[in-house]
């Protein structure tokens, strides 16, 4: 069975109650985040839509795009997913929240490349609690009846549905890609981060030794990364390079000296992950 073609859905039907202003129009680097999200998703899917509440259909920013209106308002994000699956039941949906300012194309490409179309959905595992992240995930056509039944039972939580369904779960290639921004305070912090080098990709050199060198298939490489600490970098490389050692058994060295997993990384740093030693 071949995979269903992929449509994109950016969720912008929330009430932004905690932000106290429309989240879709918040701007980062001079661009409203709804526009940013649509630009991110459009090249990766056959067609991209904005998910809206019926009362937002004529709001200018949203109506500049193709829209899918909620059929059962009050369900939260699940209403948008439900409406999309009903509108185009033969398509899979790459669903994105519009308020993911740290999300980048490689994280979406990684998700699409590892899409398991024979399962109900493909999602990232939250770096915070290990649960599926519902708002940067691919929902297959086959999940429609199960989601409808879930709503029928009075459920509202898309994470709950993903946790109970047959879902392909992936590790995030970039640790902070799905950090979201819900409050005015978080918005200020995120804008500051995006405006400064703190969030820009930096280039670091990575060295691998012994078993890790064999698993990575190389002894050194230069890596572009959003990782802020060796811990985040290791997590990224674990998935990209197939490193199989548990970091609890490793030590880290930065610039040829023992370092700390939590120390900030700087442009040009050389990071080495050290397996358990066995000299003598």
């Amino acid at each position: 069975m071949s995979a269903a073609p992929l449509y994109g859905l950016v969720l912008a039907g929330g009430r932004s109650t905690r932000m106290q202003r429309d989240k879709a129009s918040l701007d980062y680097a001079g661009k409203p985040q709804l526009v940013r999200a649509m630009e991110l998703i459009a090249p990766l899917v056959t067609r991209a839509f904005v998910s809206v509440r019926p009362d937002q259909l004529h709001e200018p920013q949203r109506s500049a795009f193709d829209t899918v209106a909620d059929l059962q308002p009050g369900l939260g994000p699940l209403a948008g997913i439900q409406a999309a699956l009903r509108a185009h039941p033969d398509h899979a949906w790459l669903v994105l929240a519009c308020d993911l300012p740290f999300l980048s194309a490689p994280t979406l490409q990684h998700l699409i490349a590892r899409r398991a179309s024979a399962r109900m959905a493909t999602a990232y595992r939250s770096q915070w609690d290990g649960l599926p992240e519902p708002l940067c995930a691919i929902y297959e056509p086959a999940c429609a009846p199960s989601i409808e039944a879930w709503i029928e039972q009075g459920q509202r939580c898309p994470r709950g549905w993903l946790s109970s369904a047959d879902v392909e779960l992936l590790d995030l290639p970039e640790a902070h890609a799905l950090d979201n921004v819900n409050t005015a305070q978080e918005y200020t912090a995120a804008r500051a981060a995006i405006g400064t080098a703190a969030i820009a990709a930096r280039r670091v050199n990575v060295r691998y030794f012994a078993l890790l060198r064999e698993q990575a298939g190389r002894s050194a490489e230069a890596v572009q990364t959003h990782a802020r600490t060796p811990q985040e970098l290791y997590r990224q490389l674990q998935s990209e390079r197939g490193l199989k050692l548990d970091p609890q058994f490793l030590r880290v060295a930065v610039n040829d000296e023992f370092g700390d997993w939590q120390q900030p990384l700087a442009e040009g740093d050389t990071v080495a992950f050290l397996p358990p030693v066995a000299g003598g």
């Binding site: 946790s163 050692l245 060295a253 066995a278």
Partner: protein, 155 residues
């Protein structure tokens, strides 16, 4: 001269020993670690040592400094092989010189123990059956998936 050194060629204990000589020393102790033909019940054919050289040299030097301060040594040296080694070859050599034998024995033991546990050098064993493995690393695999439950909290 570096008191801790890494060597790609065979270690020469006599040469190393001569560098320890000091008229203030009344006791010399050295330790030689050689490649053994078995480990954990398996027959070993050869070994490979790999080092993260800049940090290994630094950490080795630190261990020797600690030993000198702690045991009041006059002299301390440690040489470690890297690369491919056959059974019986010398992998590591430690030598110390002190005024008296007690400190010399204790310091030599301190140095070899700390070198084994702290210096970024790795050992790969090649077994008789064709298999091979990195010592101390083979039981460090991450679990396939972090555990996660179905219960979670909403804000």
């Amino acid at each position: 001269m570096n008191r801790f050194s890494l060597h790609e060629l065979a270690l020469e204990p006599q040469l190393l020993q001569s560098a320890l000589r000091d008229p203030a020393c009344g006791g010399y102790v050295s330790f030689e670690g050689a490649v053994r033909d078995h480990n954990e019940g398996r027959t070993v054919r050869r070994l490979e040592y790999e080092a993260f050289a800049p940090l290994a040299l630094r950490e080795g030097e630190r261990i020797l400094t600690e030993a000198c301060e702690r045991f009041g040594l006059e002299r301390a040296l440690c040489a470690h092989r890297v690369g491919s080694l056959l059974i019986g070859e010398l992998a590591v050599w430690v030598g110390v010189g002190a005024a008296h034998r007690g400190e010399a024995f204790d310091a030599c033991r301190y140095i070899i123990d700390h070198v084994k546990h702290r210096v970024p050098i790795w050992k790969k064993e090649y077994y008789e059956d064709g298999d091979s493995g990195w010592v101390n690393c083979e039981h460090c695999a991450a679990p396939a998936q972090p555990p996660h439950g179905l219960v979670h909290q909403h804000e």
